[in-house]
Amino acid sequence: MNGLNPAAAAGDRIKLNVGGKLFETTVSTLRSGGPDCLLYALSNRSGHDPVFIDRDPEIFSVLLSLLRSNRLPSTAKRFSNQELIDEALYFGIESQLRSSLAPSRINGIDASLFTTVKPSSDAVVSDFNAVESDGSLWAAHGGQITVYDWNLSHTATSRTHFDFINSVRRIQSDIAAIGSLQGSGLHFYNMANGRRVHSIDWVDPSDVRIYKARVHAISDSIDSVFASYDCYHGENCVLMIDKSTMEISSEIGRMPGNSAKYMVPTKLTCISDLGLLVGSSITSGAFGYSGYIRLWDPRTRDVVWETFEPGSGRSSRFGDSLADVDVDLDELALFKICSKSGDLAMADLRKLTDDPWLYLKEKNSSLRGVGRKDGRSFAIHRYRKQAFVGRDGELEVWSRVEENGVEMIVDEEMYRRNYMDKVEDSERGVIKKIEGGGDRLFVTREDVEGIEVWQSCYNSGIASASSRGCSLW
C-alpha cells in the first residue's frame, strides 16, 4: 500500500520524531486538524518507525498540547504569536490555533486595556474600520492606510495620493475605500500591491455645479458600497456602487445642504437584513447639538423614516438633542446618546414611529447626572449587545441585565451603566471613535497616537503585592 494506510483506526497510536525528539500520540489527535492538514497525512502512515519531521520540537510540543486539550499550554508564552502561527500554518492547524489565541467574548463590565496599536509614522489615526468577519483592523493615518490582521500584527501599509484621509472602509479582502475632505472622490486601493485600482466621482451631467464632491462617510453591504458626497456649496447625496462592476448603481437622498437638516451624512450604515441605509449627521455649536437620522430604501431611493433634533420627539426631551447615533445590526435597533442629559435611548428599527425612543434609565445613583455637562464630546458604538459610550475621555458601557437566563422584554430599566475604564485612562484624551471587531473594542482619542485595544480576559491579572498601593494599573 506504499506506506499509506487509510484504514488506520482513530485510537491507534503513532510515533513522531520531531527534530530528534520522540512524541507519541493517537491518530485521532493528529486528525483533529481536519483532512487537509499535514498531520492528517502523517496519521495515514503505517509501520512502527517514527515519522521524522524536521521542525522545532519545542513548538511542536505546544501544538500537540493544543490538539490534545484544545487549549494552549502556558509554555506557548515562550514563543511569539507569530512563531506559533507560522508553525501552525506548516502543520496545517492554523484554525485551532486561531480559536485558542482569540480573545474571549468581550464583556464591557470586565474589560481592560490590552494594548495600543501604533502605526510607525503619522500615528494619529483619523479613521479606522474593525472588520468583524476576520478580526482585522484597517486604519487611516495621515495619508496612509495600514492593515493589522486578527492577531493585530502589521500586514500592509499603503501610501495614498491624499495627504489626509478622513474615512476608510474595507470593502473586499484586499480593497480599501477611502475618502478625504481635502480632495474629491471615493478611491479604492488594493492593499496587496498598494495601487489605486479605481475611483468614483459624483457628477451630474444636468447640473454643472456638481463637481469636486468630497466623500464624508463610507459603508458597504455584501454587494454594494455606499458613500456620501458633498460639494463645496453643500449639495450632497449618497452614491450606491456595485461591488462587482464598480459602477454607480444609484443616487440616493440628494439634499441641498442648506440647513442642518439637509447636511451630508457623516455616518452611514447599511442594514442588509432590512435592505435599509441609515444616514446621520450631527453638528454642534454654541446652541448645542442638532442633527438628523434618516433611513432610505436603496432600491426605491425613498426616505423611509427620518427624525430631526431639536424639533421632533418627546417634548420633555426638548433641548436634549442627539449627540451620536449607532445602529445595532444584530438586534436591529438604533441607539442614540443625548447631548444634555447624557442618557442613552434606543429605538426598534422594526417599529419606528414619530417618537420611537425608549430612554434607558440611569439607576446607579452614583453615576446619575455624570453626563450632564455642556460642551462634551460623545461617541457611541453598539457591539455584542452592549453599548459602549465615550464621554470626553471616559469610556462606559451599558449592558443588559439578564433574569433567569431569559432576556427580559425591552424596558427602560434593564440596562446598567458602568465605567469600563479607570480615572487614569480617561485622562489620555477625548474619545473620537469606538468600534468593535473580533471581540475586541478599538478606541481612538483626539490627537493621541495609536488605537487602543480593549478586551476581556479570563486571566485574573493577579499581581504581586510587593509594590505598595494600587499603582499596578
Binding site: F23, I109, E402, G405
Partner: protein
C-alpha cells in the same frame, strides 16, 4: 491488540513478584507505579479505569508526559513536587480536570488546613476592572472568591488565576455569601429580596422575599449560613418591621422558620434595630445576630443568640456603653469578640458562662475611658481558626490565645495577646473594609481601592 496477547502479558505480570506494578505510556514516556497509587483517588476514577479497562499490556494516555509526572507525584505523596513551580497553575488545573483529580490538586494547594495565621504574607493583589470599589466579598472553604463591586460580581477560582464577571440587578451588593463555588446569595439594603445567583451563567436562579405586614419591599440586611440552613435578616422597605428568615439548604431553600419578627410601635428603639450580622455557632447550635443603631445619644445595639428550633432568644446582650462596632463569635474558642465603637478596643466574652450583667472582658487597654470619641468606628472583627482578626484603619491586629499550661481552673483569666500583621512596608494604607478567609488565605478590601488584597499562608506558588 488481540485479547490473547493481552492475557499472555497479564500472565507474565502475575508470575512476576511485582504484580502490583503498572506501566503506563503517557505521550511516549513510560511511567511505573503501583495499582494502589492509581486507585487511591477512588475506584471510579480515570486512573482506576486505566488499569481495569485497557487491554493493552502498557496502557497509553495521549497527554503531556511532563504534567503527568507531576500528578503521579501528587497521587503518591499528596503534594506537588517542587519542580511543579516551573509550570503554570492554569495548565495543571486543566490537566487535572482531564484526569479527574482537581480536588486532589485543590487539597494540596488551597487547603484550609494549611491556614497559618502567624505565617500570612501580604503577597498578591487581585485587580478589578472598572471604577467601583468592592462593597462585599465572600469565600468558599477552599478559597474561591467572589467580589461584588458596583452592580457587578467578579468570581475568582481557587487558584485566583481565572476570573469571570456577571452583571446583577443590584446597584451595589451589600451582603454576599457563597453557597457553592457557582452559587451565591446576594442582597442589598436598597433592593428588595434576596437573590440566589448562578455566577457561571450570570442569572438569578431564585429570589427570596419576606412578606411583611406593610406589604412593602423587604431589603436584605445580612446573610448567614450553617450547613443546613440559610439565614437572612430582612427589613421592610418602610423600615418599620424586621425579621430573620430561615431557609433549608437541603430542601431547595424552602422557608423553614421566621424568627425575631419585630414590628415597631412607639419609641421602642431596640426592636427597630435589624440584625446586620448573622453567624451560626455550630457547637452551641445557636444563631448569633447582632445589630446596632447610631443616634444622637450614641450608639446602642444588641447581640442575640437564637435557638432556631424554638425561635426563642437564649441569651441577649444589650449594648449601651461602648457598643460594638463589629462583633463575631468563635466556635473553637467558645467565645465572642467585639470591638468597642468608642474605645476601639477588643473585648471577649466566654460563651460557656454567659449570664453576668456585663460579660465583656477587655483584651486590650481596659483603662480607656468611654467618652464621646468613636475610635472603633469602621473597625472589623472576624475570627478564623484559633485567632481573632481585628482591622483598625489600614492595619490588621491578630489576637491569639496564649495557652499557659494544662491546669486550667474555673475563673482563671484567659490570656490573649496581640500582634500587628505584616512587615513595616505592609502597615498603614487605606481603611480596611472587609475581611474574609478561604483556603489558606486571608482576603481584604480597602476603601477606594479597586482590588482585593491576598495574604497567603504558603509562599506563593
Amino acid at each position: 491488540m488481540p485479547r490473547s496477547e493481552a492475557s499472555k502479558n497479564g500472565a507474565h505480570h502475575d508470575s512476576n513478584f511485582s504484580s502490583n506494578v503498572v506501566t503506563i505510556d503517557v505521550g511516549g514516556q513510560l511511567f511505573q507505579t503501583t495499582k494502589q497509587t492509581l486507585s487511591s483517588v477512588g475506584s471510579k476514577s480515570f486512573f482506576s479505569n486505566i488499569i481495569s479497562d485497557s487491554n493493552a499490556a502498557v496502557p497509553f494516555i495521549d497527554r503531556d508526559p511532563d504534567l503527568f509526572s507531576l500528578f503521579l507525584s501528587l497521587l503518591r505523596t499528596g503534594s506537588l513536587p517542587s519542580n511543579a513551580k516551573s509550570f503554570d497553575m492554569q495548565d495543571l488545573i486543566f490537566e487535572s480536570r482531564f484526569y479527574g483529580i482537581e480536588d486532589l490538586l485543590i487539597a494540596s494547594q488551597s487547603n484550609p488546613d494549611q491556614f497559618d495565621a502567624f505565617n500570612l504574607d501580604r503577597s498578591l493583589i487581585l485587580p478589578l476592572n472598572g471604577r467601583d470599589s468592592p462593597s462585599a466579598i465572600a469565600t468558599t472553604p477552599y478559597g474561591e472568591l467572589h467580589v461584588a463591586h458596583g452592580s457587578k460580581i467578579t468570581s475568582f477560582d481557587w487558584s485566583l488565576r481565572r476570573k469571570s464577571t456577571i452583571l446583577t440587578q443590584f446597584m451595589a451588593v451589600d451582603s454576599l455569601l457563597a453557597l457553592s463555588p457557582a452559587l451565591a446569595a446576594a442582597g442589598a439594603t436598597d433592593f428588595s429580596g434576596l437573590q440566589i445567583l448562578d455566577l457561571d451563567k450570570g442569572t438569578v436562579t431564585e429570589t427570596l422575599n419576606w412578606e411583611n405586614v406593610t406589604r412593602s419591599g423587604s431589603t436584605v440586611q445580612a446573610i448567614g449560613a450553617s450547613d443546613e440552613h440559610l439565614f437572612t435578616s430582612f427589613e421592610s422597605s418602610r423600615r418599620n418591621s424586621n425579621c430573620i428568615m430561615v431557609y433549608s439548604r437541603r430542601d431547595d431553600l424552602r422557608p423553614v422558620a421566621t424568627i425575631g419578627h419585630y414590628e415597631i410601635f412607639g419609641a421602642d428603639l431596640d426592636s427597630a434595630i435589624p440584625s446586620t450580622k448573622l453567624q451560626w455557632i455550630s457547637s452551641h447550635n445557636l444563631l448569633m445576630a447582632s445589630g446596632s443603631h447610631s443616634g444622637p445619644s450614641g450608639v446602642s445595639g444588641n447581640i442575640k443568640f437564637w435557638d432556631i428550633r424554638s425561635g426563642n432568644v437564649v441569651w441577649e446582650v444589650k449594648e449601651k456603653l461602648d457598643c460594638f462596632a463589629d462583633a463575631t463569635a468563635s466556635d473553637v474558642l467558645s467565645s465572642m469578640f467585639k470591638v468597642g465603637v468608642s474605645t476601639g478596643e477588643v473585648f471577649m466574652a466566654d460563651l460557656r458562662n454567659l449570664g453576668g450583667v456585663d460579660p465583656w472582658f477587655c483584651l486590650g487597654d481596659g483603662r480607656k475611658v468611654v467618652n464621646g470619641k468613636k475610635e472603633g468606628l469602621g473597625c472589623r472583627v472576624e475570627s478564623h481558626g484559633r485567632q481573632v482578626f481585628c482591622s483598625k484603619g489600614g492595619d490588621v491586629q491578630l489576637w491569639s490565645e496564649v495557652l499557659i499550661d494544662s491546669r486550667k481552673t474555673e475563673g482563671d483569666e484567659r490570656v490573649f495577646r496581640k500582634n500587628l500583621m505584616g512587615r513595616v512596608k505592609d502597615l498603614g494604607g487605606n481603611r480596611i473594609e472587609k475581611l474574609c478567609f478561604g483556603g489558606n488565605k486571608m482576603f481584604l478590601t480597602r476603601k477606594d481601592e479597586q482590588c482585593v488584597e491576598v495574604w497567603n499562608s504558603v509562599k506563593s506558588y
